[in-house]
């Protein structure tokens, strides 16, 4: 690697570098004894995110080559939604001071002094996603994924001073480590099959191997891909790595759950896109079949289990699984096979990028509503707690309604456009059956989403429920819900962004064969 290249590459990473710096600052200020400095950490985090977002945006404008495509988009989206998450997570580290827990009061509690560190972890995890998006190398990808995950373990563990939080942390961490080992093994096999960890090189070698093998991939590579994909499924909470989801989501503090629902999922989805682009679309039939099954099973499993829950957090957790299934549909479809000149529909990758935002807004808004409520000094979690929300807190009820409707995919909310996008791409790639599975699953999911809406609007209020009184969470919920509406109605900008993010693929689609396309795409990202 030439020196100039390295400089250029680092130049593309300025936002991440800045985020790291921000995280470090938070970490250190968080250690200070005074309350004042500790309280400034969320603001530092916010400023860091905003500046990072601007840096990303700036690079998007000026240096299209360096940061063109997906990475830029993902970084921007993560920074943006990170801001909403920041609002929603406000108050989490202070929570201990609000609750009276005899056991906790007696002893030393690390959670009590977490204020600063929490935001450091928050920023670190987001940085991980950003780095994932910019990954051009298996090593990098592995590190970035781990950077995304490791802070979240801490966040979960320390978010609440309750047994549930610790239980969810232990499950999350151990199972996460297991999955990391699995996809790491996959990475190793890919490396073994190609002799390189650099995406561009791998792509070229894969192409060559395919040409030699008569369109077939070497078994080692296939196995590596399989393990990688299945391992990364943990991050997006897809079958068979979905087991932890509901328990972890339930145990973690609600705002942290919102974080978990969006951030690692984004990282995982992006990682999957990168991994599969190594072999290009249409995917090798084995991988395609595997993901087909995973997608179908994931969405079905998520939805049917969601139906059975009484805890809204668990419901949303299972819905998170289901949405991962939908995302996998886009992954199967891949970048437009026969993309229309006039429109973005048909590009599965762009659909995923869009859907991540759509899903993120919806799910963050609904978790934020839950986070705004407390019941008997605990978190509001069950249907009973949100019952009659409309009468006491009409604003929260409206946000909840909008967010679940967006998640259902009711037009014209942003979730609907996401579905249009996914289904359009699935049809374009010929996955008709999967579309039917998808729409039927949407119908199933409507049942539990509707139960949430129904509880909010038709139920009788529960006296034990009161507002947590944390203003930023309200703001976060509001922003997410409003965005869900606004992006649904004037979603063209976002759609265009996703389209531009994958435009390199599109322009080459007519002339080059598909793996070459993917390679070109990746080259653009990683130059």
């Amino acid at each position: 690697m030439h020196k100039a290249e390295i400089i250029e590459k680092v130049a593309g990473l300025w936002p991440e570098v800045f985020m790291l710096i921000g995280a470090t600052v938070c970490l250190f200020i968080g250690l200070s004894k005074g309350k004042g400095p500790r309280r400034s950490t969320p603001w530092i985090a916010a400023v860091t995110l905003i500046i990072a977002a601007f840096m990303v945006g700036d690079n998007l404008g000026s240096e299209t080559n360096a940061l063109a495509g997906m990475a830029g988009y993902v970084k921007l989206a993560v920074a943006g939604i990170g801001l909403i998450l920041l609002m929603v997570t406000a108050g989490v580290p202070n929570r201990l001071r609000q609750t009276i827990d005899a056991e906790a009061a007696k002893e030393f509690e690390p959670g009590d002094i977490m204020t600063g560190e929490f935001y450091a972890f928050f920023l670190l995890s987001l940085t991980g996603v950003m780095l994932t998006a910019g990954a051009g190398d298996l090593v990098w990808l592995f590190l970035a994924l781990e950077l995304t995950s490791l802070p979240t373990y801490v966040m979960v563990a320390t978010s609440r001073d309750r047994v549930e939080a610790q239980e969810s942390a232990v499950k999350y961490f151990f199972l996460g480590a297991l999955s990391a080992a699995v996809f790491l093994y996959g990475f190793a096999l890919i490396y073994g099959a190609t002799g390189s960890t650099d995406f561009v090189e791998i792509t070229a070698i894969v192409q060559q191997q395919m040409a030699e093998g008569g369109g077939r991939l070497p078994g080692l590579l296939l196995m590596g891909l399989t393990l990688s994909v299945v391992g990364v499924c943990f991050k997006i909470a897809a079958v068979p790595m979905h087991f932890y989801t509901a328990d972890v989501y339930e145990g973690a503090a609600t705002p942290v759950t919102a974080f978990l629902a969006f951030v690692p999922k984004t990282a995982g989805a992006v990682a999957l896109i990168l991994l599969l682009s190594l072999v290009g679309w249409p995917l090798p039939i084995e991988i395609e079949s595997l993901i087909w099954i995973i997608a179908a099973v994931t969405m079905t499993l998520g939805n049917v289990l969601g139906l059975l829950q009484n805890n809204v957090k668990r419901v949303l957790a299972y819905s998170s699984i289901a949405h991962s299934g939908y995302i996998l549909v886009g992954l199967l479809a891949g970048p437009a096979v026969n993309e229309a000149a006039g429109g973005a529909l048909g590009n599965g990758i762009a659909a995923i990028l869009f859907y991540l935002v759509a899903y993120g807004l919806g799910t963050i808004a609904s978790f934020a509503v839950l986070g705004c409520l407390r019941a008997d000094d605990r978190e509001a979690q069950t249907y009973k707690h949100i019952s009659g929300l409309h009468k006491k807190h009409p604003f929260l009820a409206a946000v909840m309604l909008l967010s679940v409707l967006s998640l259902v995919g009711l037009p014209p909310l942003v979730g609907f456009l996401g579905k249009v996008y996914l289904i359009g791409s699935a049809f374009s790639a010929g996955f008709t059956m999967l579309v039917i599975v998808l729409v039927l699953n949407s119908a199933i999911s409507a049942a539990y989403y509707l139960r949430i809406a129904s509880a909010c609007y038709f139920g009788e209020p529960d006296d034990s429920v009161y507002s947590a009184g944390i203003f930023p969470r309200y703001a976060g919920a509001l922003v997410a819900a409003v965005l869900a509406v606004v992006l649904g109605i004037i979603g063209n900008g976002l759609v265009n962004a996703t389209r531009n993010a994958t435009s390199a693929t599109q322009t080459t689609a007519q002339t080059e064969s598909l793996p070459a396309q993917a390679a070109a795409n990746l080259r653009n990202i990683n130059q």
Partner: protein, 107 residues
């Protein structure tokens, strides 16, 4: 003498070693209930991968794999730190390292 041994060891031997390590880790993870041992099992899986990586690195005659291993070790160390912190936290709460006590959340 050592050379002959090395000669008779092919790539697949190393890969098998890695795979066995990995699988042992997997099995250990499922069968053991002590949190620390479970964590060690995941470490074993990492090491199994590391063995494979080094073997591949050697096979392909480049050092990318070995570089990778360095990073894997780093991550493993980070995870270990985290794991120990977590285990301490958990032990303080329940006074046991049995993983099965952490199964209140279900359904």
């Amino acid at each position: 003498m050592p050379e002959t041994v090395m000669d008779s060891l092919t790539l697949s031997h190393f890969l098998m070693t890695g795979a066995v390590l990995f699988c042992l880790g997997l099995i250990g993870f499922i069968t053991r209930r002590n949190l620390i041992i479970m964590f060690l099992c995941t470490e074993m899986m990492f090491q199994g991968v590391a063995v494979s990586l080094v073997a591949f690195s050697r096979f392909h005659l480049n050092d990318t794999g070995q570089t990778f291993v360095i990073f894997v070790l780093t991550i493993a160390a980070a995870e270990a730190a985290l794991a120990l912190g977590l285990v301490v936290l958990l032990f303080r709460r329940k006074r046991t390292l049995d993983a099965l006590v952490w199964s209140q959340l279900s359904g």
